[in-house]
């Protein structure tokens, strides 16, 4: 019985020294490795999250930049369009004014020509009519009146 107890104790000592301790150490090592792995995973997850957030932020920034650029381009295009339209309107107005001036000048020219022609005709008719109306006696009377009104000029012969 004693021998059995001693054997058991010896076995227990041996088991503890050569099996339990290394096994426990192996378990501890494993647990430590697992802890480290978990920590690494957590670290990677954190890094991934940071990267993901950064990616989202970059996408957002990019989208905002695109929107700004689009807005700016749209504004510039609109401004250019308005400027072109304004210039076209100005040119059209200038053309219209020039044409009106030409029309007015032509009209005035034609009016003056008609007026001159009318005056010539009226003058010719008047001269013709007076030539027929003014007789010898009236011509004589006119000469008398004209001579009376002659300016007094002193000429030496």
């Amino acid at each position: 019985m004693t021998a059995q107890i001693i054997n058991f104790i010896l076995l227990l000592i041996l088991f503890k020294k050569f099996v339990y301790k290394p096994f426990l150490q192996a378990l501890k090592n494993q647990a430590k490795k697992e802890q480290e792995a978990l920590a690494k995973i957590e670290d990677y997850e954190n890094k991934e999250k940071v990267l993901y957030d950064r990616k989202l932020q970059l996408e957002k920034d990019y989208e905002e930049k695109l929107k700004k650029m689009y807005s700016k381009m749209k504004k510039e295009t609109s401004e250019a369009k308005r400027q072109i339209l304004k210039e076209a309107q100005s040119e059209a107005e200038e053309l219209r004014r020039h044409n009106l001036e030409l029309i007015e000048a032509d009209r005035n020219k034609m009016f003056n020509e008609v007026k001159q022609e009318s005056t010539k005709i009226a003058l010719a008719l008047s001269e013709k009519a007076l030539s027929e109306i003014v007789g010898r006696s009236l011509q004589s009377e006119i000469v008398k009146e004209v001579v009376k009104k002659l300016p007094k000029v002193k000429y030496a012969n």
Binding site: E127, L130, I142, K144, V146, V147, L150, K152, V153, N157
Partner: protein
């Protein structure tokens, strides 16, 4: 021998009296050196036109009519 000419344009031959009055108005006298040339031009309608040296006076009805029309236009 006349050295100067007084030209009077009229629609009919002026009488001596009319010519004398014109000469008097111009301070001229009939003389051998002055030739009075009375030209007939019915185109002036009535009145007279006087030319003497550089003196020119248009007192014709035609000229008056042209002045009036010129002023109107």
């Amino acid at each position: 021998m006349p050295t100067k000419t007084l030209t009077i344009i009229s629609t009919y031959q002026l009488s001596e009296a009319e010519i004398k009055t014109i000469l008097t108005s111009l301070g001229l006298q009939k003389s051998a050196t002055l030739l009075v040339d009375n030209q007939i031009d019915k185109g002036i309608i009535a009145g007279i036109v006087i030319k003497y040296n550089d003196y020119y006076l248009d007192l014709s009805l035609k000229n008056k009519l042209r002045e009036i029309v010129g002023n109107l236009s």
